[in-house]
Amino acid sequence: MTALLEARGLSKFFPARDGKGLVRAVNDVSLSLAPGETLGIVGESGCGKSTLARMLMRLIEPSEGKVLLEGEDLLSLAKGAMRQRRRDIQIVFQDPYASLDPRMSIAQIIAEPLDIHGIGTKAERAAKVKDLIDLVGLDPSAASRYPHEFSGGQRQRIGIARAIALEPKLVVLDEPVSALDVSIQSQILNLLDDLKSRLRLSYIFISHDLSVVQHVSDRVAVMYLGRIVEEGPAEAVLGAPRHPYTQALMSAIPEIDPTRRKSHQLLPGDPPNPENIPSGCPFHPRCPIAQDICRTEPPAFRTAGASRARCHFAGET
């Protein structure tokens, strides 16, 4: 089966603030998403999750690499063709406060993608907006109201309605529930799950919350300093992580259930900055099991079953 979306050797280098060096925000990332799948992307702040997401949608141009949507090279498309193709990939952003235009009514916000793509007659578009408002669980009266009248969770529903308006194949969710309270988070996660099966969507789900990612993902990719360090089926990567960084992430989650409580394996130091990536394995300054080789030799992926980890000693601990 062809992958719905495939990234091959994607990199994004920004000029550093001092004008001299480079920020290696995303570095040689390859991944693939099957139709109907949810791929979770996790990692700490600044590891390149949003930059990767934006490249996958070609909202920013990669420095290197390819993005294939159903086998078609997105980067080779001219402007008009790309605009057509963008219907198939939509995005929902983290901040439900900043991502909606405060001067537009909810109906206008949701209708905008339909208007831009000239879909249907005016009456058909209005009917579609009504359906979408209903589908994401908002009250019909929402249509004529404005973003500031809504709570964070409701605004996220509006963002989701807008993202699915064009019936995309893939929705990129960039921290869709991070700004929400737990009780509202679960409402939105359930909504996303419903929509996925109803509309046969595929998701790329970006989050730094591992319990959320574990709940929603079929596959998971863990990023550190612009690279994927471990990737594979969610149960394998988060259930029995092989990369020391994934292991540390899992161990850092505070546990509610006292019978499952474990001691936290603490990583020293801060996540380093992508302007100054350590030699060898970029994780070596914080890695609890680093050896001499790690300081000089960048590790390649080692595979085990359906998952892979970029560590010289993956699976040996």
Partner: protein
């Protein structure tokens, strides 16, 4: 027993004067914290956690804020009626504070060393040189290496995790009895969160600190706090020993909150969720403010707000608690 409480908050009711008129944001909040113990105050955004913490410290300007009722007994003294001069003596000396966003509470124009030394100069009348000796010690205590170099840096030169360590250093340098930590790790990355949590645990033991930890992370409360108080829409709805409350929540809100965490759910299954939204202050109505979202609601709930009633080992404000 209550006589040994270091901090006892009784019936604390706080409101604000707004353009739309006065609104109540906390209502009849009561809890106590013994010396050397930890209490977790949890609840969703806007429920009144920070207002409660800032009222204890008397940090809210009045007007617009008002303490409409209640007492805040700290070491036997009622802070609710203390003068700002008295509060200045207590803040940073007897009670230390750490907030969510260290960048907004640190002074961007002052070097780290000066900011950590300041409470000692203010409260202990130390010279800068004498204070600096203490500063080097406290930096080590909060896990900041390279102390001599760090002292000369400005807040923007530090990572988020280091800034939070600096805040903690400022909060503990006078060896307070009580530390109030308002979402101390919310803005930090997972691995840094774990570092700060372990640091707080270690300091709590080492210094015999009482800690009032405000968070929305139930896991953090489970690991750090002996007792918990759950807030909803301005009121404490359940309180007790953390282990008891988590093993057997009695308030339908606590029950729903624990269940809706994806940690507890099976993969692929729908998450149990609480329908609806938290009512904002001013729209909480009479009666129980959870009534509109509650699966156990009775007629009585809409008419009469429930007080905290003992339930098993804890106490819940509910007319029809979970069995």
């Amino acid at each position: 027993m209550s006589d040994h409480a270091l901090l006892r908050v009784e019936g604390l009711t706080v409101g604000f004067n707004t353009e739309q008129g006065p609104v109540r944001v906390t209502e009849d909040v009561s809890f106590e914290l013994k010396a050397g113990h930890t209490l977790g105050l949890v609840g969703e955004s806007g429920c009144g956690k920070s207002v409660t913490a800032q009222t204890i410290m008397r940090l809210l300007p009045s007007p617009p804020s008002r303490i409409d009722a209640g007492r805040i007994l700290f070491e036997g003294k009622d802070l609710a009626t203390a003068s700002q001069r008295e509060m200045q003596k207590i803040r940073g000396d007897r009670i230390g504070m750490v907030f969510q966003e260290p960048m907004t509470s640190l002074n961007p124009t002052l070097r780290i060393g000066e900011q950590i030394a300041e409470p000692l100069m203010l409260h202990r009348g130390m010279t800068r040189a004498k204070a600096d000796e203490e500063v080097v010690k406290v930096l080590k205590q909060v896990g900041i290496g390279n102390a001599e170099r760090r002292l000369l840096q400005y807040p923007h030169e530090l990572s988020g995790g280091l800034r939070q360590r600096v805040m903690i250093a400022i909060a503990i340098i006078c060896k307070p009895q009580l530390l109030i930590a308002d979402e101390p790790t919310t803005a930090l990355d997972v691995t840094i969160q774990a570092q700060i949590m372990e640091l707080l645990k270690a300091l709590q033991k080492e210094l015999g600190l009482a800690v009032l930890l405000i968070t929305h992370d139930l896991g953090m409360v489970a690991e750090m706090c002996e007792t918990i108080a759950v807030m909803y829409a301005g009121r404490i709805v359940e309180t007790g020993r953390t282990a008891d409350v988590f093993a057997r929540p009695h308030h339908p809100y606590t029950h729903g909150l624990l269940n809706s965490s994806p940690r507890r759910a099976k993969k692929g299954e729908r998450l149990p969720s609480i329908p609806g939204l938290v009512p904002p202050p001013g729209a909480r109505g009479t009666g129980c403010s959870f009534a509109a979202r509650c699966p156990n609601v009775l007629e009585r709930c809409r008419a009469e707000a429930p007080p905290l009633i003992p339930q098993g080992n804890d106490a819940a404000a509910c007319w029809n608690p979970m069995p």
